[in-house]
């Protein structure tokens, strides 16, 4: 009798204990404060109603992805009929490329955020498995600026600023001593690779010969900078903020891409061409959602909310105050850690000093291809093919149609596919009509026949 009641007692205690525990566990942690209301749905005509409401877009958790996330969270996609847009966080650029090759039918993605010229490289089968050509359409530029080069603190005072020619001797000495300057980016032959190469090249340092440049995951680069085994990192927000915020002060922001090339093209929105051809109205609906999100992101009164949404665990997973600075153009530059606040340096999503950020200028596609030729990522003959490649991949027609359907003022719709002459901080000029002249004018290059 005593034995039975003891067992009963134990079971009873166990049951009530686990019940209370489970009840406590079932509660969801407190969620962020109520945000502003979502966008209102539109009534869609048969002309604009999308063929499908389901699409899967991939993104990488950096500032350029904000339009995709905001369009989803604030209902801009749903407003135009795309009610089932999945924004899928990709593990890396390599994973994103793998997933676009597979497509959503195989569990991958239909489109998303890309560094340039990935859509062109994938369409030509240059970075895909088995060199399969997977045609893509690049339909909008997502953002401008917001990237920079971080340098490890041990190189403070050696001349790493906008003009890096003062550090050229130092870098060459490092190479001669057997421990070359090592810098990293997250994916080769695209944006971040170009930015650090341009910056060094302008200062007389040959990035192909004088330093070691490699592709490593961002977290690994940061960890290596902390231990002193990585010297430079070409990256985008929020990484610079993360590096600067660390109390060990192991790195400083040497230069911003906004200083190298004001209002430069950054990352783009592109999709698989087969999906767009099959669902053109849906593609335009997605574009309209992205455009509205871009306009929303640029509005100063939405910044706090934007930072709060992006900082969530399911998106960037960072403390939200990390994201505010770059949007107002506030950066801590240089080894002296001087706070610079200049709206011209801020990330912009819709409009910048030179006009439209969102419109995918073909002259920019040409710059990316030309720069690829400069560093030998593409053979010189690629310049002859440039027109064909650019026309095949450019989705600027979709952008125009979407902008018109959205009712964008014609003043905000660029009249030409070219943005004209581009000027860089070192005085170089890129004329889209004469890309060869640009190449000839550059002193440091590593062209391949």
């Amino acid at each position: 009798m005593q034995h039975l009641s003891r067992r009963h007692f134990l079971l009873a205690v166990g049951a009530t204990g686990s019940a209370t525990l489970l009840k406590g566990c079932a509660i969801t942690p407190p969620s962020p404060d109520a945000l502003s209301p979502k966008a209102q749905a539109l009534t869609l005509s048969s002309l604009t109603a999308p063929e499908t409401t389901v699409v899967k877009l991939g993104y990488i958790a950096i500032a350029e992805s904000a339009p995709l996330i905001i369009a989803r969270e604030k209902g801009f996609f749903a407003r135009h009929g795309m009610t089932d847009v999945a924004v899928s966080k990709q593990a890396s650029w390599g994973a994103a490329r793998d997933n676009i090759e597979i497509g959503s039918a195989g569990g991958g993605i239909d489109g998303g955020q890309w560094q340039m010229p990935m859509p062109q490289l994938i369409s030509e089968g240059l970075i895909t498995k088995g060199n399969r050509k997977i045609p893509m359409l690049s339909m909008a530029q997502l953002s401008t600026q917001g990237n920079g080069i971080a340098i490890a603190s041990q190189h403070a005072g050696k001349g790493f600023g906008l003009d890096v020619s003062g550090a050229a001797e130092y870098v060459r000495e490092m190479k001669a001593s057997g421990k070359p300057f090592k810098a990293a980016y997250t994916f080769p032959r695209v944006n971040q690779d170009f930015w650090i190469r341009y910056w060094l090249g302008a200062g007389g340092i040959d990035p192909s010969k004088d330093i070691d440049l490699i592709a490593i995951p961002a977290a690994q680069t940061v960890a290596s900078m902390r231990t002193g085994s990585m010297d430079g990192f070409s990256t985008g927000d929020p990484w610079p903020s993360r590096i600067l915020r660390d109390r060990r002060k192991y790195g400083f922001l040497a230069v911003l891409t906004a200083q190298i090339w004001p209002s430069h093209p950054e990352e783009y929105f592109a999709m698989r061409e087969d999906w767009v051809r099959k669902n053109p109205k849906a593609a335009k609906a997605i574009l309209k959602g992205i455009m509205e999100a871009q306009m929303w992101c640029d509005d100063p009164k939405n910044r706090a909310e934007m930072a709060a949404i992006l900082a969530q665990r399911k998106y960037f997973n960072v403390p939200s105050d990390l994201l505010i600075g770059p949007y107002t153009g506030e950066y801590i530059l240089g080894a002296e850690r001087k706070t610079v606040k200049d709206e011209k340096l801020a990330i912009r999503y819709w409009k910048d000093a030179r006009g439209s950020v969102s419109y995918p200028y073909q002259s920019h596609d040409l710059w990316f291809l030309t720069e690829s030729v400069r560093w030998g990522f593409l053979p010189q003959g690629a310049l002859g093919e440039a027109d064909r490649i650019i026309n095949a991949v450019s989705g600027e027609k979709f952008w125009r149609e979407a902008a018109q359907e959205l009712g964008i003022a014609s003043a905000d719709i660029p009249p030409s596919t070219s943005r004209g002459i581009e000027k860089f901080f070192d005085g170089a000029e890129f004329d889209p009509e004469k890309p060869q002249a640009y190449l000839d004018s550059l002193k440091i290059k590593t062209m391949k026949a």
Binding site: P29, A91, V318
Partner: protein
């Protein structure tokens, strides 16, 4: 009946005896070892010698503590509590592991019984089993061109080897006496297989199965990076690594370890039941 043996200082639940004596013998030593380990770790990280956060960071770090406190939350998408992340991964592991068990055991028996097959396949297997899980990722993606099967394949190919090899060894080492007895009683092939070969090889098979469970978990990170943007403990760890939330990685490891322990205990219990027969 329940009250067959009654120890005045304890009681029974089923066949498990809980008394101060058994607590001292089975619970105390590991508890002391674990406690010492945690204390040493905490001391090391508090002293600043290492950058690794100590076990207390699971409670002191606000982000991590939120995960500790609410393991069952679901805020949609991949924003789910640790329990759901582990559960999603467990499902993947179970599917691949079952496949690995089936393939491993059948191939292992085939290799163990056929001398020629063994000679033919040994070098190939020796080569394949040294390939690290992450290296299988691009290969499986190119071969299968689909996300989920590729991820499951990565787990499968990592965990199949111990099962295969141990089964083959177990089959090969059948004592000559057993084989002689089978010949003497002129046992049919079927009888030989089920009543002599399998029971004798079973302990080896189970060793392989238990080793393979931990290997299956090893591959989960590689597999979930393949899939990207999904609920799973592997992707969770990759994410935490990207953002440098080391305490979250530690929390994930605690969950993985706990599940691994549970699975191994279950496997051991299964082994006891079957081998006893």
């Amino acid at each position: 009946m329940a009250s067959s043996v009654r120890n005045s200082s304890g009681f029974r639940i089923g066949s498990m005896e809980i008394s101060t004596k058994s607590i001292k013998k089975y619970v105390l030593p590991p508890a002391i070892a674990i406690f010492t380990f945690l204390a040493l770790w905490e001391a090391l990280s508090a002293s600043g010698i290492t950058l690794l956060p100590g076990p207390s960071s699971l409670f002191t770090d606000a982000r991590t503590f939120e995960l500790v406190r609410y393991p069952f939350y679901d805020r949609g998408g991949i924003d789910k509590g640790m329990f759901w992340q582990t559960w999603a991964s467990l499902q993947r592991v179970v599917i691949s592991y079952t496949l690995a068990a089936i393939v491993g055991i059948s191939l292992g028996i085939a290799i163990g019984t056929s001398e020629m097959l063994s000679r033919a396949l040994d070098p190939l297997f020796l080569f394949l089993r040294t390939v690290p899980p992450l290296a299988w990722v691009p290969i499986s993606l190119a071969a299968l061109n689909k996300n989920e099967p590729a991820a499951l394949f990565v787990i499968f190919i990592t965990s199949v080897w111990p099962i295969l090899i141990n089964t083959a060894v177990g089959v090969k080492q059948i004592p000559q006496d057993y084989i002689n007895v089978a010949r003497v009683v002129q046992a049919s092939k079927q009888k030989y297989f089920f009543q002599i070969l399998l029971p004798s090889a079973l302990p080896y098979i189970f060793t392989g199965l238990r080793v393979a469970i931990s290997l299956a978990w090893l591959a989960i990170i590689a597999a979930e990076i393949v899939m990207s943007g999904i609920v799973g403990i592997g992707f969770f760890i990759w994410e935490a690594y990207q953002n440098n939330y080391i305490s979250e990685v530690i929390l994930a490891l605690v969950w993985i370890g706990a599940v691994g322990l549970l699975l191994d205990t279950a496997m051991g219990w299964l082994q006891n039941k079957i081998v006893k027969q």
